[in-house]
Symmetry: C2
Subunit: 589 residues, 2 copies
Amino acid sequence: MDYQLPQRDIAFLLDEVLDLDRTLALPGYEHCDKDTFFAVVDAINGFVRDNLATCNEAGDNPGARLVDGQVYAAPGFGDAYKVFCEDGWNALALEEEYGGQQLPFVLHAALREGMAGTNLAFALIHELNFGVVEALMAYGSDEQKIVYCQQLTSGNWAGTMNLTEPHCGTDLGLIRTKAVRNDDGYYAITGNKIFITWGDHDMSENVAHLILARVEGAQPGPSGLSLFLAPKYMLDADHNTTNEQNTITIARIENKMGIHGSPTCAISFEGTKAWLVGEEGKGLAAMFVMMNAARLSVGLQGLGVAEAAVQTATSYAHERLQGRADREPMNPMGPADPLIAHADVRRRLLTAQGELDAARAMAYYSAGLLDAAHRANTPEQRKEADARLSLLTPVVKSYLSDMGSRMANEAVQMHGGHGFIKDYGVEQLVRDVRITAIYEGTNAVQARDLVMRKVRGDNGAVVKGLIADMLDEAGHLGEDLSDVESNLRDAASRLGRTTDWVLSTAQGDVLSGACDYLEIVALSVSAWMSARIARAAKVAGGSQSPEYYADRIDAARAFMSRALPRAVSHEMIMQAGEPGVVFRANRCL
Amino acid sequence: MDYQLPQRDIAFLLDEVLDLDRTLALPGYEHCDKDTFFAVVDAINGFVRDNLATCNEAGDNPGARLVDGQVYAAPGFGDAYKVFCEDGWNALALEEEYGGQQLPFVLHAALREGMAGTNLAFALIHELNFGVVEALMAYGSDEQKIVYCQQLTSGNWAGTMNLTEPHCGTDLGLIRTKAVRNDDGYYAITGNKIFITWGDHDMSENVAHLILARVEGAQPGPSGLSLFLAPKYMLDADHNTTNEQNTITIARIENKMGIHGSPTCAISFEGTKAWLVGEEGKGLAAMFVMMNAARLSVGLQGLGVAEAAVQTATSYAHERLQGRADREPMNPMGPADPLIAHADVRRRLLTAQGELDAARAMAYYSAGLLDAAHRANTPEQRKEADARLSLLTPVVKSYLSDMGSRMANEAVQMHGGHGFIKDYGVEQLVRDVRITAIYEGTNAVQARDLVMRKVRGDNGAVVKGLIADMLDEAGHLGEDLSDVESNLRDAASRLGRTTDWVLSTAQGDVLSGACDYLEIVALSVSAWMSARIARAAKVAGGSQSPEYYADRIDAARAFMSRALPRAVSHEMIMQAGEPGVVFRANRCL
């Protein structure tokens, strides 16, 4: 697989479709002009190709290993991590105060896309480092920030988040891990956590564990949970890592379907020394700071894998000679035509490209909202950006992670039997990306969040703003794109209709239709993005690279005619209502 | 995973929905009455649970191994194969003349479903044994039948089919393997074959390889291909296996995404002694005898895996406690409610059940057509059954193999993070079943076959017969099922409309829409089956097991309201037309 970060697409989207200028003008980004921005995008491509693509296969096999209680990263990962930290990639979007580069989230999105597209297992350690810093910035004490944020920003220490226990994943209110307050200011943590991504490894000097636990005597349920911070190795008085191990045992690495390069640990805390982050009983709120940022990032993971899949499927379709075109042969002197000669193959690739273009636009648009939510000039602007981002976060997480699986499976299918064997690396994409629909809240949990909190929670106000923007765009498309306009208007009215249904229908029915509604929102936003892409490409099309721009319009139209119609079925299915019966198990007996 | 063959469903479908009596009355099945039939179904359940489910995990890991040129089956497979042969399962649907049990294909379907549901990798050796016998029965010489069919029917020898080469899969016309005629009556075969399922192993006394090759001097393309038979170990004058090896080298076992228990071999033939099957230049026709039977069987594989997936997802949804029901709690004294308490979970399981019931009906209906095509009293009856079976074969192959993947992925999703690790065995289902959408002709190749040969080839005559049957059924549903009737009439008119489109539209457009059309046919036939299920359940519902029958009607209605509407989108997308552009590679550069 010869992955290339789609720099041309990223530049087109950010500079010509979305509003990169506005992002770069935000306070705090003064040091990043457009040239710098795209120089970094180019450097991302070099970094991921040279360092992450090269060890992705070793990440799958042999993967990470647990030996005598210590996790060893897969071959090549340690070297890659060294470059990753030394060249400042880990620090890209983190704040200058703690040694970060403080570059925009839209640029961070490109890094995340490129890392996921070349080595999803490796990419996850960055997510954890980043997430722990985010949580500490929001809830940590000044001392915690000074001690930990600098080390986590440089990557000298790595981060983890410890939520799940064997009996509870989604339902964190069931957490049993206990924390006992000690007179010396620390807490002793005891309990068993599972599914801890990069829960241990030998790539960083220390590991900082964020742990959700219940202080002895706290009430049951979510409101009894507190957040703690525990280092793998204890620190000395100057906050330097010592050789003294905290009482943290890595019980096993899980044997998983994919991302074998990312050690998923079961961890036993046995009187582990830990320090409270924020206030007792406010642990879940702090965790959700991480979680929300992570959800957007999971969408970018799906996007990265989808891009890698479409690239390899496209290459294979051009190279593999099999059968003859139904019309004039493409390779008349050769033994057969390339796969791309077949109408069905073209249809698949063009549809995939249309979905991918729109999805990338949605993802980078959301990353831009994150920039604005953090840094826009006025509280009103920040609040508005945050509200729309909150609406889109579950959509981006679910739709793009599912798209990652879909496109990876399409790439396997394009390769035929060769896709099912390991030689081309496409089956690894399927196995690796499968987790993205599950972690950070399953996609069904996202759909529930969407309908209950993000739509019913504000009586549809934010969705309605989105619909207004879609209609505004429709008014700008002009005669040449009148077909696109008509598709977009259809999408907007469907989104309006279905949102009204979500707002006015009994909760059980709405929850039954939540996943279908999420797809409708995703397809509607994609339609909006496709229209914006088509208009921008039309405007630019007369200038350089007319082929590139013509392709964008073709892809946008393919989205409209070959992907958007799925929303019609989702609208029908959404309204089927809550199943009244609890369907019986043991049907076979 | 605690798999049970869905005997109750199979009995209901065959005895109350489809027409088992008519199948059992066919000439040649006199020895199988209904009691015998269902006693065998029960025995299938025992066999697969005791012998195949038990070694499925070992099949995945460590799987089959190649040591010094000899393939060794996965642990437990050899013992399972012994029981499989000794108890006559391999011989179940093969003809009495060569030691077979000559039981109906609808019973064979249950065996195939149960084998695939417990151990897909193992199931494949049976497919090969069966397919080689079928090809020899159709095209072999009397001597070949006497020598090989008996041994392959008992399972004492095993079969393989050697088609694919590194440069050609779908496009068999490109085959390069050479056959040189020898004065002693045999041919010397030289060439490299890949993707040979169960290409070698240590479970049977000998292996009979069917090989597609080109006789020296034959014309290029498909019409230059001939079929050959070569044993792994040479036979003596009495046709007994000797120790002398034929010149067949197992170059490697492929490292695959799944079905690790099925050794997929790369085989080098180096002057291998082989005997012609049928006539020179007629090899492809003989291979297609195997292939067509195999395609129906691949559908049954998808069905078996889908059933296993739904069973395990259903069990987990009842056991796993997580969150509270949105309405009254189901487990008020416990820490949380089971997953099944959540509307979205019920929706998923009920939809899956509706799709599965309809798909099983479609598969067994098709198997019944195979019985009729072989054994019906008049040539007209046989021809009619064969024509409808030919129409449905690509549909069953594609739709059910895709459903296998879909349901396996749903089961992973239902298990959350626990589905992504190996402990529950559900991720193995995803990896194992993935190949079914590829082998025996990719699903896109099936769609092409459907529109070009099966629909345009007879100007839609067979589809129109199907539509007439759907409308006839609609007329019998009565007032209680008037909603089902209305769904069925919609489906019938959509099938009519889209078939007219396939018949009247330019070939490039039809080929672009072929996969969508196939889905429409599959959903239409499923709607027909759902209606028949609902009506039969309504009739029986007053008697015993009213809950069972009520569930069937619920599931049928779930199919109509939650699965069938997908056809609406497919109809729109189908008509998007042939992409005019050859989408450019190297988009990123």
